[in-house]
């Protein structure tokens, strides 16, 4: 029930699917109410991007992930173009998101040119703030030094930071820069996190961003964080904790107690489902199918309802 891979448009004919346009197409709406995840297929007649909310959202933001600027393989020969398409989709929203969060693997090879290119592209986003966390592709040979030159302003340690907006406490964690274990947060960051949330009241809504999942999605491929249990122990007292990650290039969700995890898809290329094959090798889809595996995520927060509404929208 909580498996967000229900991005498959159940019950729709191919003709219906094709008729749908960008925003109300094959989206899955994941509504979190009191810790319970409810998913439904987006309706082409929907009047608003995220339905079922009578109250005006206190906050709307967008998550994008895994643009892999610089990748050039059969799985996607035009990652710059598909990333530009994602930016165009965000800029075409009927509202201006409070911020756009890129959850890592901005670049493919961590070169200065790639960092410069992705930063310039994101400067085109029509939003007040652009946030990022680094992926392992962003710290390939320097433990994230170049990443922090481009995106590290105002951050601490390896690039972690937090901020408050509309009553929500947002936390950006770095779990991609450990040499021999990944994901890994490390003792310095864990201590920072403990202190960061210590002063918050327990009814504060918490949203945590990281590149690699904070849950064990598939440890064999590095799709987990080996010390996330410690991090999550600091968040146990909060009523609502939402963890949003990238890295796995596919939609997935899981709820553990007060915490709900959502993996986002990519704007670059799909990866296999966990354990499907010997390695997380980029998947080359049949011609014309790539865009259906790529997308962006809208997130609405309605104050007082303890509700985060997520809408994952395919690139078209």
């Amino acid at each position: 029930m909580t498996d967000a891979q229900t991005n498959d448009p159940h019950g729709m004919t191919r003709r219906q699917l094709l008729r749908h346009t960008a925003w109300f197409g094959s989206a899955v709406v994941l509504t979190v109410v009191g810790g319970e995840v409810i998913s439904q297929i987006g309706n082409s007649n929907a009047a608003a991007p995220v339905p079922a909310a009578n109250d005006a959202p206190a906050l709307r933001f967008v998550q994008i992930s895994d643009s892999h600027i610089g990748f050039n393989g059969p799985a996607n020969m035009m990652v710059e173009q598909t990333f530009a398409e994602a930016i165009d989709m965000i800029n075409a929203l009927p509202y201006r998101p409070a911020f756009v969060m890129h959850t890592g693997d901005l670049t493919h090879l961590s070169t200065p040119d790639q960092f410069d290119q992705v930063k310039q592209m994101m400067s085109e986003l029509k939003t007040s703030e652009v946030h990022t966390v680094p992926g392992e592709h962003d710290g390939v040979d320097d433990k994230g030094a170049k990443y922090r030159q481009f995106f590290g302003k105002g951050t601490q340690g390896a690039g972690w930071y937090s901020w408050d907006m509309a009553g929500v406490h947002f936390i950006s964690l770095v779990n991609t820069l450990g040499l021999e274990s990944m994901g890994h947060l490390g003792t310095d960051q864990l201590e920072w996190l403990r202190k960061d949330v210590a002063h918050l009241s327990s009814d504060t809504s918490i949203v945590v961003f990281s590149h690699i999942p904070l849950f064990a999605m598939y440890a064999k491929w590095g799709w987990s964080t080996d010390d996330s249990v410690q991090a999550l122990s600091y968040l146990k007292r909060f009523a609502s904790v939402t963890c949003l990650n990238g890295h796995v290039h596919q939609l997935f969700t899981k709820t553990e107690g007060n915490v709900t995890f959502f993996s986002a898809t990519t704007t670059a290329y799909p990866l296999p489902k966990p354990g499907d094959g010997p390695a997380p090798t980029p998947v080359t889809l049949p011609a014309g199918k790539l865009h259906s595996a790529l997308g962006v995520r809208e997130v609405n927060y309605v104050k007082g309802n303890e509700r985060l509404a997520l809408k994952d929208v395919r690139l078209t």
Binding site: G70, G73, H108, L109, K220, G222, T281, P282
Partner: protein, 96 residues
Amino acid sequence: MPDSASAPAGAPVAASSVTIKSFAFSPASITVKVGTTVTWTNQDQDAHTVTDKGGAFGSQALNTGASFKFTFTKPGTYNYLCTIHPFMTATVVVTQ
């Protein structure tokens, strides 16, 4: 699934070139004489690195078809990995 040419642990292969394919170094363990230049070539679609855990050598990210060379001047056992995919590990044994 591609055939893996990984050597069993404790049985390094005499070789000076290593292929990176299907998220594995192959052969996974090689032995060379001091002064040998070893070449790693990435044949995967994804990028990889060749990074010594002890810091003796380290490549940048190797895109598809890219190579990295390192000349070993000191004997010893070098355990290395890919920083992007740390589950990819391998060894170079350098002898006099």
